[in-house]
């Protein structure tokens, strides 16, 4: 049931991307509004699927440990938030991308950028549905913590904001390449979006790293153990810290910031996928 809904959401995102593309090609305001509605409908269904999976995961866990009182029920609900494996994290990643685009950066959601964002959300979800094991597995003891919810939530909202900045950076580089072709969206706006998305992502990544450290402190007995995931999230943090300083202190603008945003997102991808698949460590479950 939930996988069907997610399949549908993927299609809706693809449709939204198509509508946005048409809106860009014919510079149609009305089509653009339709595209937004399509994206919003997809987002609503996506949220529904998220909660559906949460419920399913809770039911699954309560078979093993029927909660005795209200407190136990609550903590089981929190522990079973569907953010505990690769599939669930991808689904939430895709959700955050379209959520941020529709809510935090709605002013920028037009033109080629809207196409890129909708496509990004669609591709991530398609990858999750087609190539990743979606079964619900029981939680290992280390994951049973109230920190799971806040840690994974903040990290992935951060990743999603960086993904938006990456999309904006690609478009910016494309539109400011050496040619006279008429611009699809005004680059200054993309420039601002890049900065704002990076700032938001940086904030969430920082909180994600901090909550992760607090959690690690109670679970592993060390707030920092140079586990590959930790190390790479720190490298990512360094790159974006560099970007923010370059812009705010040194006044860098435009293409140089765009290249840094792309470098930063490469580090995000490596933190997310590369570490999980290439470097063994404590985070091997995600």
């Amino acid at each position: 049931m939930i996988s069907q809904v997610l399949g549908l959401v993927t299609l809706v995102y693809l449709t939204a991307a198509g509508i946005f593309l048409a809106a860009t090609l014919w510079s149609s305001r009305r089509l653009e509004a339709w595209g937004r509605w399509a994206l919003l409908a997809g987002l609503a269904a996506h949220l529904g699927a998220f909660f559906g999976r949460w419920l399913e995961s809770y039911r699954h866990a309560s078979q093993f440990t029927p909660p005795q009182d209200l407190g136990a029920t609550l903590s089981l609900v929190i522990h079973q938030v569907p953010l505990s494996n690769f599939f669930e994290s991808l689904v939430f990643f895709s959700f955050s991308v379209s959520f941020l685009a529709l809510v935090s950066f709605r002013r920028h959601l037009k033109g080629a950028l809207a196409v890129v964002v909708a496509l990004l959300a669609c591709l991530i979800l398609a990858y999750a549905s087609l190539a990743v094991d979606s079964s619900i597995r029981p939680l290992m003891p280390a994951l049973k913590s109230n920190w799971l919810l806040i840690h994974v939530l903040t990290c992935f909202i951060g990743y999603a904001a960086f993904a938006l900045a990456f999309g904006a950076a690609l478009l910016y580089l494309w539109q400011t390449r050496r040619s006279k072709a008429n611009p699809i969206a005004p680059p200054p706006e993309l420039e601002r979006l890049m900065y704002r998305a990076v700032a938001l992502g940086f904030l969430f990544l920082s909180v994600g790293i901090l909550t992760g450290a607090v959690w690690a402190d109670s679970a592993w007995g060390r707030y920092w153990s140079w586990d590959p995931k930790e190390t790479w999230s720190l490298i990512t943090w360094f790159i974006y810290a560099g970007l923010l300083h370059a812009r705010l202190v040194k006044g860098w603008q435009g293409r140089r910031i765009a290249w840094l945003a792309i470098l930063g997102f490469a580090a995000v991808l490596f933190t997310y996928f590369g570490v999980s698949f290439l470097l063994p460590g404590l985070h091997s479950y995600l």
């Binding site: 093993f64 920082s206 450290a213 679970a219 592993w220 360094f238 560099g242 300083h245």
Partner: protein, 458 residues
């Protein structure tokens, strides 16, 4: 400090170096490279492994440079120490100015100096206050007012504390780094493994630096592990601990994953567990109708009672494939050639011995079942004392308001000046500035101007 005179004193040049953004970026770059190296080169492995994987030429170079313990050596500590200095210097340089800016109230004079954003006119007959105030209140909330005959000024400010944000963040990072250094040099960290029912008085330091007395006696009363039904995935494991001083019991606690226990300044974290044999294993060996009992110890070859084969107990597991305790046996029949059979005997599932293509399959002619498999759990703890952790947590707490101020509370200043012309009508000017949030600010200005001009029509 004079900024424009070219010949600088040595301390002055050092100060410039320490507070430069170039230093920060260089250090971040170096740290990124060091951190990357640490994830590419396996860390804290035995020396021999480096010689094998990196060859006789590069292995020793790598070891000499300390790249196998990159996170403990100067490669990381030097840039981190410099970065701490850099952070502190930047805070010292900029914080006083930021505090002065925040402390300076937003006065009428300052409001009148703001750049012009738009103009509107009110006819003479309207009361300027009723025409302008509702719109302003709705958009901005509380306003400061200055009333003079012939001139009214409403002014407003938000994000006044924004300049402090970056300094809070940098100060918090400094605290975190300081806490990490304090923990590294004044804290201890190690591991402790205890068998059920036994006691410990010392623990092993990390990275083979010997062992340290606990200062008390720790007894593992019980260890329990529960599995998700029918699988080998543990659902929860816990150790029941008793703390004793001079033979007297002084405390009891249950230690679980995610729920550490602190006693006598040391914190115990449930890390892992295992099981080992508590005595010899008793097996039943049958060949046809003829059965014998056989006692085997670990890793010792044993002749079968009928003399027609040999067995050796290789390993035991408390929950093999979710089927409960099991023993891995190597068995060679006297006439069966050189190759021994290897199979697991699950104590509670003897019927699996006949199942082909499983790790339980016994080809015979002898058939083995477990009569007694006495297992004892041991529990492994991470042990730590870290006086720096509170500095780190203070840093975490401090950086949150820092982030909110720096990124979510842009400073905005707005003023509406109404002046009565000699002819009696009111000339309105909207002034304002928001250097770091132009976009949001412009929207607000447009919205305000729309409302103010609407007021004109009333």
């Amino acid at each position: 400090m004079s900024r424009n005179s070219p010949p600088r004193s040595l301390p002055g040049r050092l100060w410039d170096f320490l507070t430069s953004i170039r230093l920060t970026v260089t250090l971040l770059l170096i740290l990124a490279v060091v951190a990357t190296l640490g994830t590419v080169i396996p860390q804290n492995e035995p020396v021999a492994r480096y010689l094998v994987s990196f060859g006789p030429r590069w292995g020793p170079v790598l070891l000499r440079l300390g790249l196998h313990r990159i996170y403990d050596g100067p490669w990381l500590l030097m840039p981190v120490a410099l970065l701490s200095l850099n952070l502190l210097a930047c805070v010292i340089r900029g914080l006083p100015e930021a505090v002065r800016r925040v402390a300076r109230p937003f006065t009428l004079e300052a409001a009148l100096q703001l750049p012009l954003r738009g103009q509107f006119t009110l006819p003479a007959r309207v009361n300027p206050e009723t025409a302008v105030l509702p719109a302003l209140r709705q958009e901005l909330g509380r306003l400061k007012v200055s009333n003079h005959p012939g001139r009214q000024v409403y002014y407003w400010e938000s994000g006044r504390f924004r300049p402090l944000g970056p300094y809070l963040i940098h100060l918090s990072l400094f605290l975190i780094l300081l806490g990490a250094l304090v923990g590294k040099f004044l804290g201890v960290e190690g591991r402790l493994a205890i068998l059920t029912g036994e006691t410990a008085t010392e623990f092993t330091l990390a990275k083979g630096k010997g062992s340290v007395p606990l200062g008390f006696t720790l007894r593992l009363d019980d260890f329990r592990v529960e599995y998700y039904g029918g699988t080998a995935t543990p659902r929860e494991f816990r150790s029941d601990l008793t703390f004793m001083q001079d033979g007297q019991e002084v405390g009891r606690a249950a230690c679980r994953v995610n729920h550490p226990v602190t006693f006598g300044g040391l914190t115990f974290y449930q890390s892992s567990y295992g099981s080992q044999l508590a005595g010899p294993v008793r097996l039943k060996v049958c060949k046809g109708q003829e059965c014998h009992t056989l006692t085997v110890g670990q890793r010792r070859g044993e002749n079968l009672p009928d003399g027609q084969g040999q067995v050796m107990l290789v390993r035991v597991d408390a929950n093999f494939q979710g089927l409960g305790p099991a023993a891995l046996l190597a068995y060679r029949e006297a006439s069966g050639g050189d190759q021994p059979q290897l199979f697991w005997i699950p104590a509670r599932h003897p019927e699996l011995a006949r199942r082909l293509q499983t790790p339980f399959y016994q080809a015979g002619p002898h058939l083995f079942t477990v009569e007694e498999l006495p297992l004892k759990f041991y529990s492994v703890f991470q042990v730590r004392r870290d006086p720096g952790v509170w500095w780190v947590y203070a840093g975490f707490l401090l950086c949150l308001p820092g982030f909110v101020l720096a990124f979510l509370r842009p400073s905005q200043r707005l003023a509406v000046v109404l002046e009565q012309s000699p002819k009696g009508h009111w000339q309105g000017r909207l002034l304002g500035a928001s250097p770091r949030a132009r976009e949001v600010f412009q929207e607000r200005v447009d919205r305000l101007l729309m409302h103010l001009k609407k007021g004109t029509a009333v």
